[in-house]
Subunit: 156 residues, 2 copies
Amino acid sequence: MKTATFLNRDEFLNHWQGHRKLTRRTIEKFPEEEFFTFSIGGMRTFGELVKELLTISVPGLEGIVNKDDKPFSHDIELADKAAALKMWDEQTEQINELYNKISDEELYETFNLFGQYKDQTNNNLMYFHDNEIHHRAQGFVYLRALGIEPPFFWER
Amino acid sequence: MKTATFLNRDEFLNHWQGHRKLTRRTIEKFPEEEFFTFSIGGMRTFGELVKELLTISVPGLEGIVNKDDKPFSHDIELADKAAALKMWDEQTEQINELYNKISDEELYETFNLFGQYKDQTNNNLMYFHDNEIHHRAQGFVYLRALGIEPPFFWER
């Protein structure tokens, strides 16, 4: 077992917030009229995918910090892109605050996130991060299909 | 600065290899006849995206381990899916070996990867990981557009 640090806790937060900036730019570039209507191959719209992201990150961190295992619900009201961007920006601060309330030890403790994802907290947080990259990439394809150039992947 | 470990070096390797298993399943599910032909909105085919992944991970690790900053080239011969899967499996072992040759200190040293990505080695490795999730997600949309159900994202 090699347990030296690969990524420290500040690095993870900065890295994730960098990805969140890119996702924000992806939302900004998405045409308003297609946000909740356009899809490919029966997939969810980008608006629905963004709802998923908004209902995982902060609610998940709240669950971890408060040791509350209540289930998630992706079913939130989100009138338009402006509402999505407003909630996105509010969550930027909330994520910083909540994440910093997790102790170093708690990152390595097992918690039954949302009452069903029993895993080490660092793994659950990596899932939030990876899941955002995954869904944003789907948004990139939607943008291309709509003839719009996505933001640069490497720009955070 | 909070520098406690978020992810240790074995955890990162296992996490990445888990994602690589999922990417492998995505290649397996892709129809042979569409692998180098199907695309959406002028994007690269999934075959070309897989070439990119194959020419970043092991060549990048070789560069890091040998302190060799030669540029990458995504232009490799890959006849078909079988050839892609063969190279994928060979790289699974190569990645384990090369990654374990990087010292704990080197993960935090700055290296000019491929002669152009000057960053801490742990950041460059995170880029490999994130970039794979990103391009595989594009493959998921291609599969859906072709009427094929992708593998489960959470199955590694």
